[in-house]
């Protein structure tokens, strides 16, 4: 089993609370700079401690994440992270220019000598408001954009593209990917439609902002569909993202985490603006099991989050048992460990404990 360290590069400074988008009224440049540097330092530490990947994501218009373009952060990471793969989970391709995405991934793959993992996501529902893209078109845009990106990576003759959403007259990207034929691709896989598409196209699947039972159900559907298309996903084809805090023992971990989240559980980006979320849901964004998709985004108590595998919390032995449960129920081959709350030296210690006590064990699984 492999381990990744994920950070949204959260902003740690003054900000107005709640809602989406979040106004920049009380924004601090200094705090933002420090927050970004903190993330860079943590990724560097993870690389030194033997994490297999470091992971970035794309989110907009909120202090939850300072990487609206994770490619920029990844560019900086190429100069800091010397061994681990740099995973972008991902680029929200339906709201972006697919050719730009193809070019940026190829740049990063070149700069790292072939250490890039290419997550291609639809993004959280609110992201469709960001660049004014109709969420009803999300899935169709995603499928076409992904096809175009793969073509841009692999076709060596200049070509044009007459699509349903994208139209280009001549394409020939430089630089080109180091990994042949291209970096490993993952997509988000909570919905049945996503599992079917990933299976049909031999794409890896990532689960985030969900629970182990829901992810296990979706992963089973993915594997069943893959068999229909004549292949068997490897463990590494399934990523599970989970929050984590490790202390020297269970009591310390729980105490520190509760202290850090004393303000109560924060709602995610999607549910931060319920009116917007409802409007997006009405467009059919969630697909055919909309109720379940929305359910997984609902805030839960800490105990529920622990019980359902949304957070790993405890001393190293407890966290190992929790990971064992995820491995057993879901069969995930990559654990994307999220530093969800920054606690200064305690967060650093948590990453160190993961590297020293947890990773050596799970690597054998």
């Amino acid at each position: 089993m492999k381990a990744a360290l994920f950070s949204t590069c959260k902003y740690h400074g003054p900000a107005l609370d709640g809602g989406w988008p979040v106004p920049g009224t009380v924004y601090s440049h200094e705090a933002a700079q420090e927050s970004m540097q903190l993330s860079l330092d943590q990724f560097k530490l993870a690389d030194e401690l033997g994490f297999d990947w470091v992971t970035l994501a794309e989110h907009h218009f909120a202090p939850f994440s300072l990487t609206p373009n994770p490619m920029v952060m990844a560019g900086a990471l190429t100069q800091v992270v010397k061994r681990a793969k740099i995973a972008l989970l991902g680029a929200d391709i339906p709201i972006l220019n697919p050719l730009r995405v193809a070019e940026e991934f190829a740049m990063l793959d070149t700069m790292t000598g072939g250490r890039v993992v290419a997550g291609m996501l639809r993004g959280t529902p609110n992201e469709y408001v960001t660049y004014n893209i109709n969420p009803a078109e999300s899935r169709a845009r995603f499928e076409e954009a992904l096809h175009l990106i793969k073509m841009a990576w692999t076709q060596t003759e200049p070509f044009g593209w007459q699509g349903r959403f994208y139209e280009y007259r001549t394409v020939s990207i430089w630089p080109r990917c180091v990994q042949a034929p291209h970096p490993k691709i993952y997509m988000s896989g909570s919905s049945p439609e996503a599992g079917e598409f990933a299976a049909r196209n031999r794409i890896g699947l990532g689960f985030a902002v969900t629970t182990v039972p829901l992810a296990a159900k979706a992963a089973a559907h993915y594997r069943e569909q893959a068999r229909r298309y004549g292949w068997e996903p490897e463990p590494e084809d399934v990523i599970y993202r989970v929050g984590v805090h490790v202390g020297k023992d269970d009591d310390e971990a729980l105490h520190d985490y509760v202290e850090a989240t004393r303000g109560g559980a924060k709602v995610g980006l999607t549910m931060a603006n319920r009116a917007l979320e409802s409007a997006i849901a009405e467009t059919g964004y969630y697909g055919r099991d909309a109720d379940m998709q929305r359910q997984r985004l609902m805030p839960r108590s800490l105990q529920e989050r622990i019980d359902q595998g949304q957070i790993l919390l405890g001393g190293p032995d407890t966290v190992l048992k929790q990971i064992e449960g995820i491995k057993r129920e879901l069969g995930a081959g990559v654990l994307d460990l999220t530093v969800a709350h920054q606690m200064g030296a305690k967060t650093i210690r948590s990453i160190e404990l993961l590297g020293e006590k947890v990773l050596p064990q799970i690597r054998q699984w």
């Binding site: 076409e144 003759e157 200049p158 070509f159 044009g160 593209w161 007459q162 994208y166 007259r169 001549t170």
Partner: protein, 170 residues
């Protein structure tokens, strides 16, 4: 290897369009759309300049015509050429004076490969993939094929440069 330079050819192309390989031209959604701005003809003519649109199976005939009627044929649009058709193109390809657009459907793996091979043989041609279409792209996505075809016939090499109006309101 020579570099494929885009030539600045005249932008107004022939009004006539010779269509080859369409079993029932009157029922073709593609030809109906093209006929709004082109006069569809069924036979080669030497009396006026014209363009040729050929489907798979008639690609060889279209290329031969482009050589034998080099003074008349200004542009060629080739839909889903087969591997055999591309393999059969030889030195004669160099004698084709017309500008060439090759279309391949993204669900047509063999057609994509053949179209790429054609592009390698004739670097100055234009290769465009029609997304979510197979070899019968003219029936699957006639609007997409018509759009790129008309743009090419009207502006030829200059169709590489967008002339779309990007303003939200005028």
């Amino acid at each position: 290897m020579t570099n494929a330079q885009t030539t600045a050819a005249e932008t107004l192309s022939a009004e006539r369009l010779l269509c080859l390989g369409f079993a029932a031209p009157d029922d073709s959604a593609l030809l109906q759309q093209l006929s709004a701005s082109r006069k569809i003809i069924a036979m080669p003519t030497s009396e006026a300049k014209y363009a040729v649109l050929a489907k798979s199976g008639e690609i060889g005939a279209a290329l031969a015509l482009a050589v034998s009627h080099a003074e008349s044929i200004e542009a060629l649009v080739l839909l889903a050429p087969s591997k055999a058709e591309v393999d059969q193109t030889g030195d004669g390809l160099a004698e084709v004076k017309a500008q060439v657009l090759v279309l391949a459907g993204t669900r047509d793996a063999e057609g994509c490969e053949a179209a790429t091979a054609f592009k390698r043989k004739r670097a100055a041609s234009h290769l465009v993939y029609v997304y979510d279409a197979a070899s019968d792209m003219d029936t699957e996505r006639p609007e997409a094929v018509a759009k790129v075809t008309l743009d090419f016939l009207t502006r030829r090499d200059k169709f590489l440069v967008s002339n779309a109006d990007g303003r939200i309101t005028r």
